[in-house]
Every structure is written in structure tokens, then in C-alpha cells.
């Protein structure tokens, strides 16, 4: 087997402006920019991660555009993901309501082998804002996470760097687990020989 590291494909989904790109930049570059710039199509970042202190992998984060007009691009991105991150903004009730539809949209298009066990992580972003601006309660978030199958939930702030590292460590862990699940399926004897019939039809071209 090759010494190459596992590639983990992680997709970040959520409404426009919830902070997907900021979270990713906070995690990968430990930077935050106040300025909002909508993602056009998609951004790709890679980071080497160490999971459970011993397994090294390359996490490839696919940051998608939240704006609806880019949705046609999104579909192709979902295929073959190892973990899907659902982000909402605690000051934006609609973005919270949409978490479930983002998850459904992902499952419809990603064509994952077993949807019940596919790892999702929910990030409730912008928790740095003052309490009066928060419109989504922690309790309703926890209820949602539970209803979607005990999905891990993190209250994060890309701006103040709250919980971002922890969240991405969990993301890396579940992605690695997903990428290695039923790995024993490949232990099959794949070296199947061809049944040659020497009296069969002539094949291919001459040499």
C-alpha cells in the first residue's frame, strides 16, 4: 500500500452569510476578516489533520456558495463527501430553519451508501454577538441535532475563534471514520482472472 495520506472530503453547507467561509479560514489560516465577500461558486482549502493523536490525513474542505443562484454547481460537489458540515447563524432564524433542508438536499444528491449513518456536524455560528441579537435558542438547536440522529452540535464564533478548532477536530474524526468504514469490503479477492476461450470470437486489432 502507498504511504500517501487519506484524503477526507468535507462539504460546508448553509445559507448565504452564515459564516461558512469565515469558519473555514479561521480553522485553516487562523484568520478572520470583517469584510463580507460572497463566495463565488466554491472555495477549496486543504489542511493536514491528526486524528486521535496518531492518524494523519489531508482534509480537503469544499466551501460552497450559499446563494441560491449557485446551486447548480453544488450538486456535483456533494458526491463522495466524507462529512457534511451544516452551518447556521444564531441571529438568523431562517438560516436555522433551513438546516434540515440543506441536509436533505445533500442526501438527495450525494448518493451516500447509508444515509442513516452518514456523519453530519452542525455549527451554530456567530455566538459572539450580544444575547439580545440571538434569535435561535440553544435548546431548539439541541432538539434539532437530536432529531436528525444525534448530530454533533457546536456553538462557534469564527470572529472570536470560539470552538472552531474543537468543531473541526470532530469533523475530521467523523470524516476519517466514514472514509474507513467498511474498508474490509476491499479485502475481497479482486484479482479475478478472465475466462479465456481460445475458440471464441476474434478480438481487437492486429499488431
Amino acid at each position: 500500500m502507498s504511504r500517501k495520506k487519506n484524503i477526507l472530503k468535507v462539504i460546508i453547507l448553509g445559507d448565504s452569510g452564515v459564516g461558512k467561509t469565515s469558519l473555514m479560514h479561521r480553522y485553516v489560516n487562523d484568520k478572520y476578516s470583517q469584510q463580507y465577500k460572497a463566495t463565488i461558486g466554491a472555495d477549496f482549502l486543504t489542511k493536514e489533520v491528526v486524528v486521535n493523536d496518531d492518524k494523519v490525513a489531508t482534509m480537503q474542505v469544499w466551501d460552497t456558495a450559499g446563494q441560491e443562484r449557485f446551486q447548480s454547481l453544488g450538486v456535483a460537489f456533494y458526491r463522495g463527501a466524507d462529512c457534511c458540515v451544516l452551518v447556521y447563524d444564531v441571529t438568523n432564524a431562517k438560516s436555522f430553519d433551513n438546516v434540515k433542508s440543506w441536509r436533505d438536499e445533500f442526501l438527495v444528491h450525494a448518493n451516500v451508501a447509508s444515509p442513516e449513518t452518514f456523519p453530519f456536524v452542525i455549527l451554530a455560528n456567530k455566538v459572539d454577538v450580544e444575547e439580545s441579537k440571538k434569535v435561535v435558542s440553544s435548546r431548539s438547536a439541541q432538539e434539532l441535532a437530536k432529531s436528525l440522529g444525534n448530530v454533533p452540535l457546536f456553538f462557534t464564533s469564527a470572529k472570536d475563534s470560539i470552538n472552531v478548532q474543537d468543531a473541526f477536530e470532530e469533523i475530521a474524526r467523523s470524516a476519517l471514520q466514514q472514509s474507513q468504514s467498511d474498508a474490509d469490503a476491499y479485502e475481497d479477492d479482486l484479482n479475478e482472472a478472465i475466462n479465456i476461450q481460445l475458440d471464441g470470437e476474434p478480438s481487437s486489432c492486429g499488431c
Binding site: 472555495d43 479482486l190 478472465i194
Partner: protein, 527 residues
């Protein structure tokens, strides 16, 4: 149809020469990609916004349906503008600096191969910085999906220009579970040739994994990490294959054919006889299929003899891949090791594996025996041993090669030539052409082909003269293709008339036909 053209290019700089037949130029407009300035490991997909000239560079395949492609181009151009509006990205003002960041970090190569899975997971790239390559993979994946570039659409490539007007082409191949792209900034290779190279690279992956296994693995789990599944040897071979496609293409790849060792028919027959008699001796007690193909080649992979079932032949690409594998392990073989490995021949049958035994015989030739049975090693090893003994006994192994020495005297003005016999898909050349010669041959060949690699006419001739003011390097060239042969000639003289070039070519073809039995294997031995 006869075509001739003459114009000037600088031989030192021939990679950048363009001819009027380079239709890609006509169909593409300016535009560029660049990577995000603030993160070394990030990449994003955007287009440079410049309201006056902001159009994306897309060119469809060129040919009979050029109108269709122009429509496609304008459609895509307008789509791109609406998707990537001109308001973003004002921070990137220096156009050429950005362009060179994207394509400049190359290591002296004008080509780069990318292979990734349909999920966008990198399988192989020639970039040293892997995380950078992964970012680029994301972009390429997006471009292919957005523009729906696949084997069923006519769009297979697009091109862009940098600040110096150097064109870079991006040519794609979508093989369902695996996607491939080559980024190429030379302009002497046609899109069709680049696609053929992608096919060769893909075929190599299949030779290691088999199409059936690949389907099985990827259908069960589209997130499958194929890079992890390939062995170190696979990665090494992909690297060497892509490196040589990028820097030093082999003549056999260029001509889609195999090369034979020129031999006297008597000597070749003696070897053929040894193979067939040993096979007959051996096959009495053996089940069919145990010995499928037997090939003997020189150490530099020129065919000497082939023994095969009368109803099965081998495809050129399959053999090219086998030869690559063998060549990569030649050092081991020369230490008297025997190689035994499963190999899938993608053009023969991409569903399963055959098994190859490779050994260097005492007479310094390589024998390759292909079996359909995975536990046939002992039998095959014995078979090979007996052939080795018999060859030493029966055939004078010294000077197997019979070099054609007189061609230079007969054709003093001819520098170099390549003759391909189409029926047997074999070539003869007096010595391996340099990279530069191959570029000239490419140049000539492209004049007679459309962008899909189809010859414009059943029979075409192209003649070119290359002039250079500063050095004595002056060359004339001819390419002649018919249903029976292809001929490439370079002549050391620019003042020679087209008529006399043609006369020399005719005489050379005549000569090749006379010595055909020395140069080519017509059928091989069949059973």
C-alpha cells in the same frame, strides 16, 4: 489532396510557433484563472474581471461543426459572466503576475497531468506541493462539472493566454469514476494527441486496478480514496509515464505503434520456430489458456517475435503499458530476477486480469509470457527455461539486429525518417528522434489532421521548410499518409525543391517495401 506550405519559425523556439492551421487561436478569447492571494493552500474559482475584455476562454472542438462550437462558446461566455460577475475580486490587479502564479510553478515542463476521482479526490498530479494540487483539483472538478465536460459532449478543452500571449490548453477526459486533465502550454501537440495521452494514462490505471474492480469500488463508495489504493509501484509508474509524456515523448506513443528489431528473416524465423516448437511440446500436457501470448523483445523493447492464439491479438496500448512496466523494472530483471504479476489489458478485456511472467533470457532478450491462469507460474517458468536453453542451442544469438546501414548512402539528403506500416501498427526508424525532431513531425502531422485527430484525406502530403536566420539550422520536412503507411522525413536542406523531396520520399517508400520482411513482424506465430 496535396498540400504544401512554407513559412518561418525559429527552431530554438519551435514550441511557440503557430501556424495558420492552429484553429484554437481563432476560437478563443482572453481570460484567466488565478489562485487566491491570501492563502497558499487555498484555491478558488473566479474569473478576472475586466469589463472591456472580460470573457472566459473556452474553445470547443474545432472541425466540421465549427459553427456549433462558436455558439457554444458564446453561450458559455455569457454564462460565465453572469455566474462570476465583474464586481468581485478588485484586489487582483496584476494580470500576468496572477497568471504566472497559476501556471508558473512548474518544473521546466510545459505539461501537467492531473488525475482525480469523480468526487474530486486527487489520485495523481505532477505538482510537488500536494495541497496546492488538491486545491487545483477542486477547481478542475468544478469546471468540468459546470461546463458538463464529458465524453458525450463536443467540448473537450479550453485555452487561455497569459500576458505574453502564450497559450495554455486544458484538455479533459471524463472516464466516469475517474477524471483526467492535462494542462499543456506547447502548441505542437494537437488536442487529439493530448486526449490520446490521457487515454494512455487512464489505461495504465485500469491495467493495475481493472475496470470491473474500479466500478465495484467506486459504485459502492463514491468517496473511495483511490490514491490510497494504488501501490507505490503504481504511483512510480504514473510519475514516470506522465513525466516522459511531458518532457520526452516516446516515438512509439507518438506514432501509436510498436517498434520491431530489424532482423534477417532467417534469424527471426529461427526464433519463431523455437517458440512454436516449445509451445507444441508443452501444450500436449497442458490445458488451453495457460500460455496465451509469448513475446520476445530486445532490452530496449523492440519486438523480436510474437506467439499468439490465431483468434486473439493484442492492442498496441496494452503492449505499450506492459513494456513500460517491464522497462521500469529492468534493473531487477538484469539481475536475473523473474517477474510475475497480474495485469489487466484494458483494450483486450478491462474486466479482469491476465498474469505475466517476465524474464531476461541468456541471449540478452526479454521474454514475456502472458497467461490467463493465476497459478500457472511453475508451468510458465519451465516453458521459459526451455525456450532459453533452446535459443542458446539453435540460434546464433550474437548480433540479432540487422541494421539498415545503406539508407544514408542511398538518401544522402535525408536526415531522419520514420516509416509506419499501418496494417501491422509497427514503425521503423534508423535511430530514435530527438525531442526537437518529434516536434517537427508533430507540426507536419497536424497539417493533415483535424482537431479530432482524423486525417483530412485518406491520402495526404504535407511539406514544410523551417528557416532560422541566426544558425545554419535549416530543415525541410515531409509527412505522407495513405491507407497503407505513414512516412515522416526530415531533410538537411532547405533549397531542395518540393519535387525532389517527393522523389526521395517515393524512393524511400520503395526501399522500405523491399526490406519490409526485415523490418516488421507480419503475423507472428499463431496457434
Amino acid at each position: 489532396m496535396e498540400k504544401s506550405a512554407s513559412f518561418q519559425i525559429n527552431p530554438q523556439n519551435s514550441a511557440r510557433a503557430t501556424t495558420s492551421v492552429d484553429l484554437t487561436n481563432h476560437l478563443s478569447a482572453r481570460g484567466l484563472f488565478h489562485s487566491d492571494a491570501d492563502a497558499g493552500t487555498s484555491a478558488s474559482i473566479k474569473t478576472k474581471s475586466n469589463p472591456e475584455s472580460a470573457t472566459a476562454t473556452i474553445s470547443g472542438s474545432v472541425g466540421a461543426d465549427a459553427d456549433l462550437n462558436i455558439d457554444l462558446q458564446s453561450l458559455i461566455t455569457s454564462e460565465l459572466n453572469s455566474i462570476y460577475p465583474a464586481t468581485v475580486n478588485q484586489s487582483t490587479s496584476n494580470k500576468s503576475a496572477n497568471t504566472s502564479r497559476f501556471i508558473g510553478e512548474r518544473t521546466g515542463k510545459d505539461k501537467h497531468f492531473f488525475i482525480f476521482t469523480s468526487a474530486g479526490k486527487l489520485v495523481f498530479s505532477q505538482w510537488e506541493n500536494e495541497s496546492h494540487a488538491m486545491g487545483l483539483t477542486g477547481i478542475i472538478h468544478t469546471v468540468m462539472n459546470y461546463f458538463n465536460i464529458n465524453d458525450n459532449t463536443s467540448m473537450k478543452q479550453f485555452s487561455m493566454y497569459d500576458g505574453d500571449g502564450i497559450m495554455t490548453r486544458f484538455v479533459f477526459a471524463d472516464k466516469n469514476h475517474i477524471k483526467l486533465m492535462v494542462q499543456c502550454s506547447n502548441n505542437y501537440e494537437s488536442t487529439a494527441q493530448l486526449q490520446q495521452q490521457l487515454d494512455l494514462v487512464y489505461s495504465y490505471i485500469i491495467s493495475s486496478v481493472s475496470q470491473r474492480n474500479l466500478n465495484k469500488l467506486m459504485m459502492k463508495r463514491s468517496n473511495f480514496d483511490l490514491q490510497h489504493y494504488l501501490t507505490d509501484l503504481d504511483q512510480q509508474l504514473l510519475q514516470s509515464l506522465c513525466d516522459s509524456l511531458a518532457t520526452q515523448q516516446k516515438l512509439t506513443w507518438f506514432a501509436n505503434s510498436l517498434e520491431c528489431l530489424p532482423m534477417t528473416p532467417k534469424k527471426r524465423n529461427a526464433i519463431n520456430t523455437v517458440l512454436s516448437s516449445q509451445y507444441l511440446d508443452f501444450n500436449i500436457s497442458n490445458r488451453n489458456g495457460q500460455i496465451l501470448y509469448t513475446l520476445v523483445t530486445s532490452l530496449d523493447m523492440r519486438l523480436i517475435s510474437i506467439l499468439r492464439p490465431s483468434n486473439h491479438t493484442l492492442h498496441t496500448i496494452d503492449l505499450q503499458i506492459l513494456f513500460e512496466l517491464v522497462q521500469l523494472q529492468l534493473t531487477d530483471l538484469l539481475l536475473d530476477k523473474v517477474l510475475w504479476f497480474p495485469i489487466c489489458f484494458p483494450k483486450f478485456n478491462d474486466n479482469g486480469f491476465l498474469y505475466a511472467l517476465i524474464k531476461v533470457l541468456p541471449n540478452r532478450t526479454i521474454i514475456m509470457v502472458i497467461s490467463s491462469q493465476k497459478n500457472a507460474f511453475e508451468t510458465l517458468n519451465e516453458f521459459v527455461g526451455r525456450i532459453g536453453d533452446k535459443l542458446m542451442e539453435d540460434v546464433n544469438s550474437n548480433n540479432l539486429e540487422f541494421p539498415l546501414l545503406d539508407w544514408h548512402k542511398m538518401f544522402p539528403c535525408i536526415n531522419h525518417f520514420v516509416y509506419k506500416m499501418k496494417r501491422t501498427v509497427q514503425i521503423y526508424t534508423p535511430f530514435q528522434p530527438t525531442n526537437e525532431m518529434l516536434q517537427y513531425y508533430n507540426h507536419l502531422k497536424n497539417l493533415c489532421e483535424d482537431d479530432q485527430g482524423r486525417t483530412l484525406n485518406k491520402s495526404s502530403i504535407a511539406m514544410l521548410k523551417w528557416k532560422n536566420d541566426t544558425s545554419p539550422g535549416q530543415l525541410s520536412g515531409l509527412y505522407w499518409t495513405t491507407e497503407k503507411f505513414e512516412l515522416y522525413i526530415l531533410l538537411n536542406d532547405i533549397n531542395i525543391s518540393n519535387q525532389s523531396i517527393l522523389r526521395s520520399a517515393k524512393r524511400l517508400i520503395q526501399h522500405m517495401r523491399e526490406v519490409e520482411s526485415y523490418l516488421f513482424i507480419s503475423r507472428g506465430v499463431t496457434f
